[in-house]
Symmetry: C2
Subunit: 889 residues, 2 copies
Amino acid sequence: RINKYLQAISSILTTYSTCLSPCSFCQLLKALTPEENTHCQNGLFFQDGQRRVDYVLTYPVKKPGGGRSSRQSVQLLAENAVACSLRRGPHNGGEDLRHHQSLPMADLEGGALNGHEDHKAFRREEFEGKLRDMGLELEKEEVTKIPGVGFVKIHAPWNVLCREAEFMKLKMPTKKVYEVKQSSGIVEKISSLVSKVLEPLHPQVEEHQPKNIKHLSHTFSREKQHFSVQTCAILKKIWKCITSLLGSGVYTAAYPLHDVSSIHLLYEEWANYSVFYKYQPIGLVRKYFGEKIGLYFAWLGLYTQMLIPASVVGVIVFLYGCATVDDNIPSMEICHPKNNITMCPLCDRVCSYWKLSTACGTARASHLFDNPTTVFFSIFMALWAAMFMEHWKRRQMRLNYEWDLTGFEEEEDHPRAEYEFKVMQKSLRKDKKSHHKVSTLTCRDRLPAYMANIVMMLLMIGVTFAIVFGVILYRISTKAALHMSSSSITRNHVQLTVKTTAAIINLVVILILDEVYGAVARWLTVLEIPKTDKSFEERLIFKTFILKFFNAFTPIIYIAFFRGRLVTSHLMLFCFRSCAHGGCLMELCIQLSITMLGKQLIQNNLFEIGIPKLKKLIRFIRSKQGAFQEEERQKKLQRYETDHFLEPFAGLTPEYMEMIIQFGFVTLFVASFPLAPLFALLNNIIEIRLDAKKFVTELRRPVAARAKDIGIWYNILKGVAKVAVIINAFVISFTSDFIPRMVYQYTYSPDGSMHGFVNHTLSYFNVSHFQEGKETLDPLHLGYPVEICRYKDYREPPWSATPYEISKEFWTVLAVRLAFVIVFQNIVMLMSDIVDWLIPDIPKDISLQIHKEKILLVDHFMKEEQRKIHILESRVSTAHTLPNLCSIC
Amino acid sequence: RINKYLQAISSILTTYSTCLSPCSFCQLLKALTPEENTHCQNGLFFQDGQRRVDYVLTYPVKKPGGGRSSRQSVQLLAENAVACSLRRGPHNGGEDLRHHQSLPMADLEGGALNGHEDHKAFRREEFEGKLRDMGLELEKEEVTKIPGVGFVKIHAPWNVLCREAEFMKLKMPTKKVYEVKQSSGIVEKISSLVSKVLEPLHPQVEEHQPKNIKHLSHTFSREKQHFSVQTCAILKKIWKCITSLLGSGVYTAAYPLHDVSSIHLLYEEWANYSVFYKYQPIGLVRKYFGEKIGLYFAWLGLYTQMLIPASVVGVIVFLYGCATVDDNIPSMEICHPKNNITMCPLCDRVCSYWKLSTACGTARASHLFDNPTTVFFSIFMALWAAMFMEHWKRRQMRLNYEWDLTGFEEEEDHPRAEYEFKVMQKSLRKDKKSHHKVSTLTCRDRLPAYMANIVMMLLMIGVTFAIVFGVILYRISTKAALHMSSSSITRNHVQLTVKTTAAIINLVVILILDEVYGAVARWLTVLEIPKTDKSFEERLIFKTFILKFFNAFTPIIYIAFFRGRLVTSHLMLFCFRSCAHGGCLMELCIQLSITMLGKQLIQNNLFEIGIPKLKKLIRFIRSKQGAFQEEERQKKLQRYETDHFLEPFAGLTPEYMEMIIQFGFVTLFVASFPLAPLFALLNNIIEIRLDAKKFVTELRRPVAARAKDIGIWYNILKGVAKVAVIINAFVISFTSDFIPRMVYQYTYSPDGSMHGFVNHTLSYFNVSHFQEGKETLDPLHLGYPVEICRYKDYREPPWSATPYEISKEFWTVLAVRLAFVIVFQNIVMLMSDIVDWLIPDIPKDISLQIHKEKILLVDHFMKEEQRKIHILESRVSTAHTLPNLCSIC
């Protein structure tokens, strides 16, 4: 048993990435081909210039800054738990845990325990000794050009690699090659034409194989595929062990080296703004960074591609608005000088009466976004979202096939160290009371954490609401103050100033809270102690998403649905009901564009480019305090040293999150802002190359991780698409003037045209009915005394039997609005379902090829095993081997 | 190649069922154990009394009735296509098809071709010869007690069975046994208590293994699992061959024999009304009939089980209505003699004024179904449906695990004979023009069929609508006629008579059309020529479902949503708006209960019991024309002869369809008929045993088919559950008086109570405003002249400025109704999604056990293969075997 364990541990450092991705294994093999030696750079090889550096560990040589001790003691405990669980067999439960738990302590006491540094050095010695025992070759370098940092360079020889490849269930291409048949006739001609047209859009990456030939792939050693479960489990445990060593400061960093030639190609054909119009070389990305990152870029690519039709349609809708703005009867009526209606003041006391014609500009502008095509665009975008989801499913399936992941099953994760530590604590506590084995945390153990989660989440959402309310107060007070200002220029620009500054304040708050919420979500997830890494990631993503979603969309939802609708009494301030003519859609549009563009520009430029550069600089400056001259060092810096200056890879969550929030902007309120897809498209074209640059030049080479799909993100996307349908239904029917216009045209209009619509939407108010203290301070502002003013609402006139009561028109329009919501929601949902049902999840050619491959594979092995069958057949005919197999029947 | 082919074909007849179900294989093995010999019956064994009859083929001995020749020529062609495709290799496409196509013809011409009968006999000889060649033992019996029928009894010896078991990817229990751990502590105690309480509900079937021990299962021969793809494909082709032989009349029937001892046990513990309260012995059912039928009964069982809570809640809702009927203010007001309102006539001319108090009974009755608890019941039922779907997913997963289907993948079906025939025809036609290979039917080929489909479907749905319209006309005319009747008793019962007879007419029409539509759907699907059997089945089910669904629910939807709302002009006939007080809910309820109960009773009793009995009788009488005396023959009939008198198994579609339509009744309109779940429950308790009886005693033993899930039915169920949410929302808000009551109570009521509600819902009509020719013939019917009468609508009174216009109240109520629909639909959908998300698809214990089993299996084989690894390791270290494997990296 010990022997097997050592065997397994020996290979971890070179092959944990192999375990996760078959291609990083291939990279390692490829790195040994002779033509690569010409590219040789300093620091890529051991001192002898022969053995390649596959992986690097770093550790502090001199005393680092103190203050780590209190944190370390906890982590040491957790680490011991891991060490123990490695030592015991895979499945003999919590008992051994308690039994072995004191062993490492004994080691420590017996060894050299004079200070943390010595202890760390001892642990390093121990670990490196183990690695050497198992065939890995190590080279230590303490006196490097970066003072205070020691490097352990690791090289994995051939035989270790090959042994490990067997342990994995790696699909390897066999020698057998088969032709992927193309469909015949016209279809073929068209597709070849299309591919010829698209030729310049493809990246210039030499493919090693013609496109219509595929190597038949199969698991490396078919005989041993059952091992993978256990082997990978062990490898993962050891990887956790390294994580633990990193956490306790025994090592400071662990990373594989960047591959210079691959990096160069990636830089040329991928991480470069000059190739922005090309497809991404996804195969190459996946080979270098692994499937997980490959899938992210494939997803981002597809999303960007899908945004093209959406933005084209969006621009057409916008242009239609531009073209018809002069034919729009309501805005013509508002702007017409003859139709000069006196409007009621928009706020108490400080505001005064105003002419409707001053709202002319806004009315014309709002027509750009609020015209009949908007409805069709919303439906289009809902279907677009459904199509996008379907296309992604198909693309994913295709990639799975091309990357030979079709048989790959994600293994169940092993418990995290924190979880095991907690379970151990609990079992120690329980042990005194009863003799039950404790192997899991129950809901009761987690109750406090759950409670904290709920309370904190509600609190954070409450903070978001409070800030929205704060911005409302800011608007009201600023508006009042500006209205009182003596300068007429100031007064004229009140509306615009207030709206814009409020939107900017909102934006800044959103950006700040985004960072805060990210930290809060992580903290809350740590509190929960999820069992596995996967569950940790999912819970974290879910919480972060909820918080960031509320953060980004609460102000917008407020403007879309609640602004101007909160106050119903007719005698209270008109201030709240201040959406200009053309509904609140214009305002929603301003808010949306500022939030979206601002978020994209600031988060992209400042956070994604600026902060990593800053961090790199800081790390650089800190190490500059050493003896070497900057220029000199830069030249002589070894590869493993330059990589050390790079930022470690922190996961794909922020990248995905940013895109999902953007997807929200594109789909949720698209009815009010048809240009959103265009802005998203422009952003994403840059985003792809930006992210690519970051991965290629700013980050240490990440651990290649294997994945079949984008996981929880798909569900979140689906949820957003669902919510989008209902929100768009409400935006069209409640925020835009679409329904009132329709109702007027088809029921109230005397001649079936829109003439008189503006007059119809305005109610009458007798100024003598103002509540005391609410009347305007400047009643003669317009130059003449006002008796009756108008306001935008459906209410009875002062001379009716029930003055200022909600009128029949209001209820009619409301009923039609609600009916529209029902019809829109159900039709769009039905159409989405139909799209979902019509487009098969697996592309037809792929499913045919998978089937074909299966048959070919069977053929292949059938020939090999023909002989064995005959032997078995003769044995079976004796008829005595079967009964025990069927004993339960 | 020929050798391999013969080898494979040899085994088909004995093991095609093995291919489809591992356990029918086990049955065969089990049948050979000595203790079974005591149960020996006539005809279960060959003449020697040793070899068991595993399978029976029958063929006509004398000349059957003519008229088969025209049909046969087509089928012969199709059959030849199959024969050819068997002869060629699995994947060399259509060319060989054309090449070989003339071969069978040549055989025929060379052989004895004097008449169809001789040809058939020749083909039989050929086929049986092949079977014998491959090790099967045959016994022919032409002179049986049933004149005109010859039997071929087939016995499969041990070695054939064992050879075949290897070819299949059959999971067989290994000797290794592991304990399924029970959770500890209180949970364990409770669960043991529960299982003790439920003990009498379990069927008394001896289980061969203790409950908490499971045998570790694995594919029969691990080394050869890749064969299964190809082998099963060949076996299925041959099974198609038999189907084709059956179709062309070479054989008349093919069936395995019933197993007397199993049948006895099943009859005792399953197909018996006296055990109606017990769980079904699903394991036993699956062993005897295969997974597909097992899954149907498991599904039916779960559905019935889930109906228990639904009917309990439904009964409570109904009882609440009964208890509060005397406290219901609106019905009290209607019944109160003082509040005697004069109502307008309900139809033109012949009807007269009437007193509202005559509607007292209906108003009281409608309260039983239309009270505030109905809303909660609708929400409950929507969640119930979601829970049901989730529970079924879990149950299915559990069954998959228990039946060792977790690794089983459904193979892609091979093309149907009709499809291949059509493709061949097309390729022959095309051959003259171009040299492209034709291997599929394109959309263009299918266009006529698709068009026919669409047209026929629309036509059929049109017929349904026409019939509903016809019933409406019947109602109007009958009502008028009855009103004119002189007898006052007749007149008093007009409402009830008309409603009930209309509902009965509807029911009869539904029952007749159900049969017609079934036939139409099949015909349309045959026209489409679907490629595979699975696709054929799915298309057929889909079409049948659409037609039957429309058929069953169109009249109900008419009554729920359109009745009384089609006429908007106030001066037209009031006849359409004749729903009595309490909304149309009462009427909907009558219609629903008559349709549902009638459909269940008639379809169950008449169609499911009566018709099979009748058919059996006819077949019996027809063969009675022979020489033997009835009594004598009954006694001496051999097992294979009695089975021949049974009805062949025709698929599960009708059973599922009936249940899905019932599920529709239970969920779609549950808001109007809370007792529906109870009736469904009562029906299903009988239905389970009825179906069981049918399978055990009325049908020939079906071919055991393997299946992992219930296929398209799950999607249909999901669709019905989705539609149910929106329909219930509309029923509550539009059909019931719930919303008007709420609106009245919270906005119009002077004291916040329901007093005055009835008056509020009635508008005024001045009788002098009657259109000419529409006024009643008997204005003094009530004994006094009427000036103002009332009708149920929200319209302005005659004395308002806009008499008989729709009033503000109408729009208010409409807006609230629509808002309710939106809120209800979205909340219920959200809650369903949450239920879906909270309940994991795989039960936790099952996922744990699957994981455990995996690890144990690895352990098991690891020990076995330890030796092989070492050999391979030494070989690998030479490092020269790898490069070609990684050549594409």
